[in-house]
């Protein structure tokens, strides 16, 4: 059974419309690519790609063993990494539930003169792994996979 010409024409028109909309969006997203990044990586900051004087977001993994509270108050200092470069972050306030060493976080703030990132807000970035605690314990020996940290 062949398609009637009118129907075929409509089908082609719809196809062209969807492809056109797709292409237009692809170009638009391509040009906005940088702005759609929710955060900068620590490598961006070390290489000077992050803005020096304005607020921006910095994402990375909290380096194990670097979380410290200098004045025993609400202020926390820790190092963030993307497994290539590290940046020191300072934050005063309440940390979210998922904040812990080795966990991904996104901090909002700006760099001070010493290159320390002064955060105004810290959000925990959850990874995509779900497992019971016993399974986690048996995985302890293996290194944790790097996830969601592409730059």
């Amino acid at each position: 059974m062949m398609m009637k010409p009118a129907r075929k024409q409509r089908l082609i028109l719809i196809g062209l419309m969807v492809i056109g909309a797709g292409l237009a969006t692809a170009f638009a997203l391509k040009s906005f690519n940088e702005n759609l990044m929710y955060f900068f990586s620590t490598t961006d900051v070390v290489e000077g790609k992050a803005p020096g004087d304005t607020l921006f977001r910095l994402g990375g993994m909290v380096v194990k063993g670097t979380v410290e509270r200098p004045n025993d108050g609400l202020t926390v200092r820790f190092k963030l990494t993307d497994y290539s470069k590290e940046v020191t972050v300072e934050y005063t306030g309440i940390l979210p539930d998922l904040f812990r060493e080795g966990q991904g976080i996104v901090a909002h703030g700006k760099l001070n003169a010493q290159g320390v990132f002064i955060a105004e807000e810290v959000l925990a970035k959850h990874d995509e792994n779900y497992m019971p605690p016993e399974v986690k314990d048996s995985l302890k020996e293996q290194p944790t996979p790097v996830t969601g940290q592409k730059s």
């Binding site: 719809i14 998922l98 807000e121």
Partner: protein
């Protein structure tokens, strides 16, 4: 037709006839409801009772049994709506138009549920109700697309014209679907990457995955039930002057 086997073609031809669709969907309904109830009961029991707590989030992660299936449905229903809309545009099949518009409010509801449950989870876990990252923003745009479809359909009195306008809007909006799905891979987002729908092995323990898939199946059946009920009402409204509706009413008197 092309490579589709003959019985399938015949089935769709029969389904495209309004009286046949009306009777068939009525016979199908009890079965759908039973399957839906069984799947939901099994999924909820597995998810809320059998599945262990998460190693990091404790019991809070259990919101995924609503959040993730709702988010999947929000994308799935949109694709169904757009495809049905395209079929309506090309072949002018009334039932395809009805399936498309009947899907919109259900899809909008699932999108809304996905956004709200995500927000409720985000506050304790991330530390914020909402962020403007690529995943959350594109999902919000999806909600607006659904609302646009519903609004546009309501704004045009002639429902056949309305269906065509709605189909074009839905088809243009299809571009948002891959964006939502891949947003977490293309850009840095606060939202985590895919757990189940990726090429690799799912990053979720099997005891937690099975209830999630059960809930996903249950939501699919809920959609079928709700969409068919809505479609039957829409069909009666559009066909209120047709002979088969008049016959049906006079028989039931």
């Amino acid at each position: 037709m092309f490579l589709i086997p003959d019985p399938v073609v015949r089935f769709f031809h029969r389904m495209a006839s309004p009286p046949h669709f009306y009777a068939f969907s009525q016979r199908l309904m009890p079965w759908l409801v039973v399957i839906f109830l069984l799947l939901t009961a099994a999924g909820l029991y597995g998810g809320l009772y059998l599945a262990p707590a998460d190693y990091q989030q404790g019991d809070s992660y259990r919101i995924i049994y609503i959040h993730v299936p709702s988010a999947w449905m929000s994308l799935f229903i949109y694709v169904v709506m757009a495809v049905a809309g395209a079929i309506g545009l090309v072949w002018r099949i009334k039932l395809a138009e009805i399936v498309a518009i009947s899907s919109a409010p259900i899809g909008a509801s699932f999108t809304f549920i996905a956004l709200v449950t995500g927000s409720l989870w985000g506050k304790p876990m991330w530390g914020t109700w909402w962020v403007w990252d690529a995943r959350l923003t594109s999902e919000l745009i999806l909600l607006f697309l659904y609302l646009g479809v519903i609004g546009l359909y309501g704004a045009i009195d002639d429902k056949r014209t309305a269906s065509r306008a709605v189909a074009i809007l839905a088809l243009v909006g299809v571009v948002n679907i891959p964006i939502i799905h891949y947003s977490v891979e293309w850009w840095n987002t606060l939202h985590q990457g895919p757990t189940v729908t990726k090429m690799d092995k799912p990053s979720i323990h099997v005891s937690m995955l099975v209830p999630l898939l059960l809930m996903a199946a249950s939501f699919k059946f809920y959609y079928l039930i709700a969409m068919l009920q809505q479609a039957r009402i829409e069909l009666l409204l559009r066909e209120r002057n047709a002979q088969w509706v008049k016959n049906m009413i006079s028989e039931s008197k």
